[in-house]
């Protein structure tokens, strides 16, 4: 189980996180939603310590960290070893082929043999329909293909929790679908997932739990049914703002 308690992060510009307490249940898909600049991405990046909070409690299985003191490198690495993240901008390593991108972590961090890592990478590539791209460079691929490879790169590390930071925000609608399908497959396999997304249809379809963030605070966390079916006025306004109605425009 992954749990953050009373997390504070001040960016000094009004943005940040204020007393955020949230639980991400294991083997479930938690979807974080909220308006732009609300702190969704900051919250997600805090889980992986790509963002360092000013204070708060971090509990992840046997790891218990007090975030008001600086963490050691070992503490950060211990958490990251159990986490994987997919970024909005894919962030594949451009100087490595697709195959080398995927085996980089397993070989050099997990110390798997190159043979095993490559065999595993090929079978994962097969699953996302990109086995024929193993030896090309990321630059030669579409955004949707790059993002599917970024997902494979994460899955190859067999993380306990998979984090997705607006994984389809940079993609055209038809490319978005091919990426969402892959994430949905992972969700169906009962993996522990946390996703930040703007895509409400996808959120509704995939979420076991919804976390609604606004102005750096958690305004709702819990059942997706209730979130969508009986929204508070504020949630209703947010959901309505995300739908384009030409008659009202």
């Amino acid at each position: 189980m992954l749990k953050l308690t009373q997390i504070n992060k001040d960016f000094g510009n009004g943005h940040g996180l204020h007393d955020v307490s949230v639980e991400f249940p294991a083997n479930k898909t938690t979807v974080i939603v909220g308006p732009s600049g609300s702190g969704k991405t900051t919250l997600l990046r805090t889980i992986d310590f790509l963002e360092m909070p000013d204070s708060g409690q971090y509990e992840f299985d046997d790891l218990h960290y007090d975030l008001s003191r600086p963490l050691t490198k070992q503490e950060v690495l211990a958490a990251r070893k159990k986490l994987g993240i997919v970024f909005q901008g894919y962030n594949l390593f451009p100087h490595l082929t697709v195959l080398a991108n995927i085996t980089e972590g397993p070989v050099h961090v997990l110390k798997q043999s190159k043979q095993d890592a490559e065999a595993n990478a090929m079978s994962l590539l097969q699953k996302v329909g990109l086995a024929d791209k193993a030896n090309v460079y990321p630059d030669q691929l579409s955004g949707g293909q790059q993002q599917r490879i970024a997902i494979v790169r994460m899955v190859a590390m067999t993380p306990e929790y998979m984090l997705f930071d607006e994984p389809t925000s940079a993609l055209d609608p038809e490319l978005e679908v091919e990426v969402l399908k892959v994430i949905l497959e992972l969700a169906k396999m009962q993996d522990s997932i946390v996703i930040v997304t703007h895509n409400m249809d996808f959120a509704r379809g995939v979420a076991d739990k919804i976390v609604f963030v606004e102005d750096g605070k958690i305004e709702y966390q819990g059942d997706p049914e209730q979130f969508f079916a009986q929204p508070t006025p504020r949630i209703q306004a947010f959901l309505a703002a995300g739908t384009f109605d030409p008659k009202q425009a």
């Binding site: 594949l92 451009p94 980089e104 630059d139």
Partner: protein
């Protein structure tokens, strides 16, 4: 003596000086200079708050300031003629032969310029590349070695080639500290045959040949290091 005779008489010793001094001086100094440059760049981008690292940063800043801010010829003179003056109980601390003094000065000078190149190249690699590598569980050292430096190498190749070509030509200054390199030999022939135009043009031509070879090398290296970049994005 006619032009052709002067050329055939002076060319072989010039080529010999090129092979024995100009080329080794360039290659050795550039290799050491590059090593210094990478180390200095790593110190300068370090985020460590340890007092030792802060001190090291200060030293590196001072070193780059001095070597970029003074003429190379003056540096050569200080190292070769000046440093032996420093004595502890009558014994010089530095007693350097011309060759060693040359290597030291050229390496440090190249290292100072190239360290800025390397530092700039490292900072040009987007932050998300660091994050993606950290997220795989890599340490800072691994991220640098496996993800950042290979990409920075490509970015720094054109400016480093500039430094390399400058260094080839700058080794002519070694004639000032008694090294019998190519330019020194051409000066001897200029005096011997009373034809400075011919002798110096000849040595200029040889430098031009060397630079041209490096130019071609640069083109191939750039192609190779850019193999992962789409053709459409090269320009």
């Amino acid at each position: 003596m006619d032009t052709w005779t002067i050329i055939t008489k002076s060319l072989p010793p010039m080529l010999e000086a090129m092979l024995k001094y100009t080329i080794p001086l360039t290659l050795i100094s550039f290799a050491i200079g590059l090593l210094i440059a990478v180390l200095a760049a790593l110190v300068r981008i370090s985020e460590s708050q340890q007092p030792f690292m802060k001190l090291l940063k200060g030293i590196v800043w001072f070193y780059v300031w001095i070597f970029r801010g003074t003429p190379l010829l003056v540096q050569l003179f200080i190292v070769f003629f000046g440093l032996p003056m420093l004595k502890v109980s009558g014994h010089p601390i530095f007693e350097l032969n011309a060759w060693t003094a040359g290597i030291i000065t050229f390496s440090l000078n190249t290292g100072a310029y190239a360290s800025e190149t390397v530092r700039g190249a490292i900072s040009s690699i987007p932050r998300p590349q660091w994050e993606a590598a950290y997220a795989l569980g890599m340490t800072r050292g691994m991220v640098l070695r496996r993800i950042i430096l290979p990409q920075a190498a490509r970015v720094s190749l054109p400016p480093l080639s500039n430094s390399f070509i400058s260094l080839v030509k700058d080794t002519s200054l070694a004639s000032g500290i008694t090294i019998i390199e190519m330019f020194q030999v051409s000066q001897q022939f200029a005096a011997l045959y009373y034809n400075p135009l011919l002798s110096y043009s000849l040595v200029a031509f040889l430098y031009l040949m060397l630079s041209s070879i490096l130019n071609i090398l640069q083109i191939y290296l750039e192609k190779w290091t850019s193999r992962y970049v789409q053709a459409s994005q090269e320009f």
